[in-house]
Symmetry: C2
Amino acid sequence: MGIRVGIVGYGNLGRGVRKAIQQNEDLELVAVFTRRDPALMEPEEGIRFVHIDLAPDYRDKIDVMLMCGGSATDLPEQTPWMAEWFNTVDSFDTHAKIPEFYETVDAVARKSNHVSVISTGWDPGLFSMNRLLAESILPQGHAYTFWGKGVSQGHSDAIRRVPGVKAGVQYTIPVEGVVQRIRAGETPELETRDKHLRHCYVVAEQGADRAAIEKAIVSMPNYFADYDTKVTFVTEEELQKEHGGLPHGGFVIRSGITGNGTKQIIEFGLQLESNPEFTASVLVAYARAAYRLHREGQSGAKTVFDIPLGHLSPKSSEELRKHLL
Amino acid sequence: MGIRVGIVGYGNLGRGVRKAIQQNEDLELVAVFTRRDPALMEPEEGIRFVHIDLAPDYRDKIDVMLMCGGSATDLPEQTPWMAEWFNTVDSFDTHAKIPEFYETVDAVARKSNHVSVISTGWDPGLFSMNRLLAESILPQGHAYTFWGKGVSQGHSDAIRRVPGVKAGVQYTIPVEGVVQRIRAGETPELETRDKHLRHCYVVAEQGADRAAIEKAIVSMPNYFADYDTKVTFVTEEELQKEHGGLPHGGFVIRSGITGNGTKQIIEFGLQLESNPEFTASVLVAYARAAYRLHREGQSGAKTVFDIPLGHLSPKSSEELRKHLL
C-alpha cells in the first residue's frame, strides 16, 4: 500500500498536487477537502470531494495532508488545526511570519505526535536550501537571489486595483546585465532597482485615460515605485493568449572566496513553465519525507533544513548510494 | 571551545582544508597527520605535523578527522582505520566502489560509535544532492551532468605518459551548443562525444615527433578516443603561466514535465577557480555535521543524502529559519 494523502484546498496549487501525485506510484490520493459544498464541485474522475469540517473522520485513512491554501489567511488557521489529526506539508511563504508560524505548528504537532513540514516549495524551500548550503561552504562571500522571469500574483492583483484597468499581468524580470556581472565574478552591492525590472501588460477599460493608468502603476508605493517599471497596453485577447500562464523561476548565486582570494561561484536556478505545478511537485516529495519521519518516531514542525534529502526519494538508501551518489 | 579537527594527508586537498578552517571560527586545527617524517615537513606557522601512526594518541584531543588522501589507495585503507578512533569526513570518489566502501566504513564506525561522512565534495557530493533532489521533485524527466570547464587530473596524467611529452594539462569542456539546447527545453539523447570536448595543452620534448604525439593522444582508449580532442602545443613557460591553476566546475540539469506537458528545469552549477580548495570547503562544512550527528548519538557511515542541511551551518535552527528560509 502506498502513502495515503489528502489535499486541503483546491485552487491552482491543489490541482497541481493532484497531477503530481499521479506521477508518483507510491502515493495515493484519498480525498480533496474543501470549504465549498462538495456537491457543487465539478466532478473529476477518481476524486472524492469532502467538506473540510469532516477531515478528522479521515484520521485513520490518510497519512499526510497536503495543505494547498494561501499564506495570508488559510494556512495560519488550517495547518495547526490539521496537525492535530494528520502529518502535514505546507508552503507557508510569508517570510516575516515564519518563526511565529513554526512555533504554533510545532506545539500542536509535538502534542499530537505528528510531523508538520512547513514552508516548503521553491522560495521558501529549494532556494532556502541553496542559500544555506552555499553560505555554509563559502562563509566569506556575497549572496544574491533573483526571481523571474515570472508572473507575480501580488503585483498583478495590484495592477487590477488601479481605476480604469480591466485586466493585467505583471512579470518580474532579473536585470540581465547584473546577473552576467555576478556570474563573471563581480560582487556588486545592489539596490532593489538594480536587480529586477517589472513589466506590466494591461488591458484598459474602454475610454480610460492610459497616461493616468501608467502613472498610477509606476508610482505605486511598495509595489512599483522602487523599480524600473514598464507598462504595455494590450487587448483582452492578447492578454489571454500571450500572458495566460503562470511561469516563474529565478536563481540563487553565491560568489565566495577561499584561500588567498580564489573565486568560487555556486548557482542554483529554476525555469518553470508553471509555478503552481512545480510548487506542488516539491510538496509531494516532502509528503514522502513527512511520512517517513513520522514512522521513525519524530514529531513537531520541520523545515527543509531539518530533513535529509534521501527521505524525498522513493528509492532505498542502497539504490541512492549506488546510482545517484 | 570549537570543534577540534585533524587533517590526514597534506597535498592540495589538505592545504585547502587548512585554509578553509581559517574561514570558520567554530573550527580549530589540532594537527596535520602525514606518512612523511614530520621533522622534514616545511614548517608552517600554527601547524603541528605528526606522523600518521601516532594518530590514535590524539583520540581525546580531536573531534573530527578530515581525510585528505586519494581515493585509489589512501582512503580505502585510511578511512576505516581512522574511524576506529575518530569521526571522519572524506571525499572518496571512485563511484563504482562507493557501495563497498560504505559497507566497510559503516561496520567500523558503528562498532566504535563514530560518524564517518563518506564521499562528500562536489561530485560525489553537491552534484549528487542535486541529482537526487531534482529527480525526487520531477520524477518524469531527463538528467544531465556536465563537468568543466576544468582540469582533469587523470587525463593530464595520461597525456604525460605519452612518449615525447614533457608536460601537459587537459581541460574537460562542456559542449556549449548542447547545454543551450537543454536549457531551452530540449531533452536530447546524448552520446559521450556530444557532451564534452577535451582540450590538451602539451609541451613536447625537444625534437619529438609532434604529429605522432597528437595521434597517440587523440586515439588513446578510455581517455580520449570517445571524444573530440584538440591538442595544442605550447612552451613550458606558457603552460606554467596560463595553465598552472586547477579550475573546475560543471552543472547538473534536470528537465522535467509536470501536469499536461508543462516544462520545468532545475539547474545547479559551479564555477571554481580552485577545485581542491572548494572540495576542502565542502569537507569542512561536513566536519561540522559529523560532529553534531555524533553528539546526537548517531554512528556509522553517512552520505550527503543522510544529513539535514541545517547541520552544515554554524547558525542555530532559529537563526536559520529567521534569516535563510
